[in-house]
Amino acid sequence: MVTVKELSKEEYLLEGHAACAGCGPAISIRVLFKALGNKVFLVVPACCTTVIQGPYPYTSFNVPLLNILFESTAAAASGIVAALRQRNIKDITVVGWAGDGGTVDIGIQALSGAAERETDFIYICYDNEAYGNTGMQRSGATPFGAWTTTTPSGKRERKKDMPLIMAAHRIPYVATACPSYPIDFVNKLRKAKEIKGTKYIHILAPCPTGWRYDTSKTVELGRLAVQTGLWALYEIENGKFKLNAPSDRLIDKAKRKSVKEYFALQGRFRSLTEKDIERIQKWVDDDWENYRRLAACSASDATPYGKI
């Protein structure tokens, strides 16, 4: 098991980039490079990351990277995979890196197609739960109750469960992550790199600007998302579901913190009522019942998401 100290001192995200102070996606990108080094080819659609890259003709990303249209990450990545194969280049990992809007909304058809074609790449959705680049409009990944500029009194619909949508594609690897748990993310990336086919990782990345909290709390909030059970760390490998630490200890409801602790730190949840919070707590408990069943099923011979 790798430790933080064993991670490389080499940096491929360069200092002086354009992310807001305390940006969760920026931490996630740095950890991505710690895991995979520079033998990668990134495909990035319109999103906060294109801003983090910096203004043309400069970039803070010291790796090959293609910027592409908002809806086209997985389609363009498929093209890069084919081009590398054509040139017989084997040591480069193609990584699609897109926001939640670019993944769960506009990019979902290209991603679904690439997964169905078993395209050999890693797709990562970094989820700041809104359209950050354009000033925080709601997305299909914005959670119930959250303020955005287009849900001024709180969104009234639930967040899509994108990792399980990807699991239903019967791809060989699906995982969730959070930058507050960098080693878990590193392990998942390194595992994904060794698997052939489409690998999907969904990383919940807190955003102080959009979520309305103090910039120093990014890592703390990610941790709370996990400790409350609102975000579970798991992986689905060849159809087998497995919770990862520390989520694996949270099946017992008593071990999970109240969702209130997570909401209290963020301005975007200010309009939540007690009734809303009760509803959300119930949904979280239902989700965990589902995780418990998936884990139990996987521990037997069954693969809840189909044999690969």
Partner: protein, 95 residues
């Protein structure tokens, strides 16, 4: 026929950005609070290093952090995450 461009001159006319530190300038000027490390408290755990979103902390030989004030945006994550509270955020003074 597939022809791979060998030089920049042969490349198609397309936007190509050059990796540069400080692509957004000296982002240290964004800072309101300045992280100060108390090295006698620091246990060299490297957590502040891995969590810094701005690549503004380098790990020295002994694994203690060195903060690059040219680029540190003063987010305070390092201070919030340090397990032994060896980092304090101090208000920047006007020069």
């Amino acid at each position: 026929m597939n022809r791979i461009p060998k030089t920049r001159k042969e490349m198609p006319i397309t936007a190509l950005s050059i990796p540069t530190a400080g692509s957004m300038g000296k982002t240290g000027s964004w800072r309101t609070f300045r992280p100060e490390v108390n090295y006698s408290k620091c246990t060299r755990c490297t957590l502040c290093w891995i969590y810094c979103p701005d690549v503004a902390i380098t790990r020295q030989e002994d694994d203690s952090p060195k903060i690059d004030y040219e680029y540190c945006k003063g987010c305070g994550i390092c201070a919030n995450e340090c397990p032994v509270k060896a980092i304090t955020m101090c208000r920047e003074e006007k020069e």
